[in-house]
């Protein structure tokens, strides 16, 4: 795995997502602004529509009021008529208290020049009609126009004329002349606003689509990024586990190496010591042997006064020499500093040597049963190291039985290829939970200072080096059986220690 590549990829994802989020933000702002303008446009459109309606309605009302006055002669209708007109022209306050002319209201809302002209035309026409209606009012009061178009001529009121003015063809035409520009104004306003509103709505739909697309793509990207990161996390977990296993292995190797080192150091020191010591003991033994032979010759030539005692003493001297010599030999075999795995090793001799070395630990209540194979068995290997194996197994067996018990040693040929050595005891046995740890370096159940916990670990290593097999069977309270299987034929041993 290349972390930098992954980091780069993550950075790219991050940048993409941030860019998309910024784009979503900008587009959302645009959408908000458009929605606001759309609302404003719709409001303006509505207001303009209402104002156009007001102009139309006010014109209708003016007609209605002046006709009512002409028909009923009730002066209040004239008053209402002038009120409407004054409100429209901004001379009288509206119901909401504001004082503004309709024309000003319209121009304030931002209308085009053409629209304004239509409005002005409508108002002008309306004002022209007001003049006609004023003529009708005055006819009701008996006031008529002079040659200068001024109401100065007094006469009798003429309701028929007034009615005629308000209902004749011209009046209807003038009325229509007001309504036409208002309709045009409205349609112009409608056209203009509806087009604008439609455009804005179109833009908004596109914006919404774009935002949705961006949200989807950012979601997909985030999802992918999460997937990738998940994969990375899983990878890292796997790596962590692998490195943990490696660390454990390294630790185990370290322990094994440490064990080996301790053992090698110990055995080297012991080897040097016993070799030197062996020589120093063997030399005086050689004197004794020489003297024994000399005495033998002497008594053969000259005879003894007490033949029995002499020969008993001589035999004992020989016996003593042999015993000491064997012990020295056994010690030397055990600790010899030799890495050669090609030596001839007599298994029975080896076990006997080990028993000799352990003799001092055994009291009379310890019984050793030797069930050896009928002929000597020789294997190729390292004599010293095989001594260590059997000394260790026998020493453990002795520890397990304590003061009283039996140790049975069986040797047999499984076939022409291998031999099996079984050492069983009726001692305390091994706890089931400890059984799998027995071969671990530094594992011991002995009190501190009594055992290093290296014995079985070393023995197992040595047996494996001889291409053999060491197995342990045990039942707590009943005893243990250690089996060692060794190949009989010479194999290609690893000469390196």
């Amino acid at each position: 795995m290349k972390p930098t590549l992954h980091k780069k990829r993550h950075n790219v994802f991050f940048v993409y997502i941030v860019i998309i989020l910024i784009a979503i933000g900008i587009l959302s702002l645009c959408l908000l602004r458009n929605a606001t303008s759309l609302r404003d446009l719709e409001n303006t459109h509505h207001t303009l529509y209402v104002l156009g309606s007001e102009l139309k309605e006010s014109s209708e009302e003016l007609t209605k009021f002046c006709r009512n006055y002409v028909i009923t002669g009730d002066a209040s209708w004239e008053q209402k008529y002038w009120d409407i007109l004054n409100v429209r022209n901004g001379k009288k306050a509206r119901s909401n208290g504001r004082l503004i002319a309709l024309r000003d209201s319209l121009s304030k809302l931002g209308i085009t020049k053409n629209e304004y002209q239509k409005l002005v035309e409508a108002e002008d026409n309306s004002n022209a009609l007001v003049w006609t209606e004023k003529t009708a009012f005055n006819a009701m009061k008996g006031i008529y126009l002079d040659s200068l178009s001024k109401f100065t001529v007094k006469g009798s009121p003429n309701p028929i004329l007034a009615k005629n003015i308000l209902y004749n063809e011209k009046y209807h035409q003038d009325k229509a002349n007001i309504m036409r520009p208002i309709a045009s104004f409205r349609s112009m306003i409608n056209n203009r606003f509806l087009t604008k509103i439609e455009d804005l709505k179109d833009i908004n739909v596109h914006l919404v689509f774009a935002i949705i697309a961006l949200i989807i793509s950012s979601s997909v990207l985030s999802f992918y990024a999460i997937l990738v990161m998940r994969k990375k996390i899983i990878n890292q977990l796997v790596e962590l586990r692998v490195s943990n296993i490696k660390t454990e292995q390294t630790l185990q190797n370290l322990k094994n190496t440490q064990t080996k080192l301790i053992q090698v150091e110990k055995m080297a020191a012991l080897g040097t010591l016993t070799a030197g010591m062996g020589h120093e003991i063997n030399n005086p033994l050689n004197y004794i042997m020489g003297a024994y032979e000399v005495l033998n010759i002497y008594f053969e030539e000259h005879g003894s006064k007490d033949q029995e005692m002499t020969s008993m003493s001589l035999t004992n001297i020989k016996e003593g020499i042999n015993k000491v010599s064997n012990i020295v030999h056994g010690l030397n075999q055990f600790s010899r500093d030799n890495s050669n795995f090609d030596e001839d090793c007599d298994i029975h001799d080896t076990i006997d040597n080990c028993l000799l070395m352990l003799q001092h630990q055994m009291n009379d209540a310890v019984i050793i049963n030797k069930l050896y194979y009928k002929t000597p068995i020789k294997v190729k290997g390292n004599v010293g190291k095989l001594h260590q194996v059997f000394l260790n197994i026998l020493s453990n067996a002795l520890y397990a039985i304590g003061d009283k018990g039996q140790i049975t040693i069986t040797t047999q040929k499984d076939n022409e290829q291998s031999i099996r050595i079984e050492i069983s005891d009726n001692g305390i046995g091994i706890k089931k939970s400890h059984l799998h740890q027995i071969k671990d370096p530094f594992f011991t159940t002995k009190p501190p200072g009594e055992g290093t916990g290296l014995g079985m670990a070393i023995s197992d290593t040595i047996v494996k080096k001889h291409k053999g097999q060491l197995t342990i069977e045990s039942e707590e309270g009943k005893g243990s059986k250690i089996s060692v299987i060794l190949p009989l034929k010479k194999l290609n041993y690893d000469q390196k220690n």
């Binding site: 070799a275 063997n282 004794i288 010759i297």
Partner: protein
């Protein structure tokens, strides 16, 4: 009467030399020397020596060094080592190359030594 076998025994220990001389003089002619230099001198003076037995650990030169030198001068004579040390790689090599014919361990076994010495006849 057949000539007695002549044995040269080299050892720096006087007790060993004396006892060897007493024990083996019964059957063989024994010549003794207390180091390698003396051993070579004895070999030169007694060309009829049949077999040489030498200790390993000695001053001036050790048993194998002595035998190496002596073997150069007397390649036909058999040489043996008698030592308090266990067999070492050096000794194994000497046996394999034929520099020595036998390795004996102290304390010596009279019967074993006699049988080997008698074989030179």
């Amino acid at each position: 009467m057949t000539k007695r076998i002549k044995v040269l025994y080299v050892d720096d220990d006087h007790i060993n030399l004396k006892l060897f001389d007493i024990v083996f003089s019964k059957k063989f002619d024994v010549v003794i020397a207390e180091n390698g230099v003396e051993g070579i001198k004895s070999l030169k003076n007694n060309t009829d020596i049949d077999i040489v037995i030498s200790d390993m650990k000695m001053p001036i030169m050790n048993g194998l060094e002595f035998i190496n030198k002596a073997k150069d001068m007397f390649p036909d004579k058999p040489f043996c080592i008698l030592t308090g040390f266990e067999i070492t790689n050096e000794i194994t090599d000497a046996l394999n190359t034929g520099l020595i014919v036998n390795y004996f361990k102290k304390p010596f076994n009279r019967i074993e030594l006699e049988s080997v010495i008698e074989k030179v006849r």
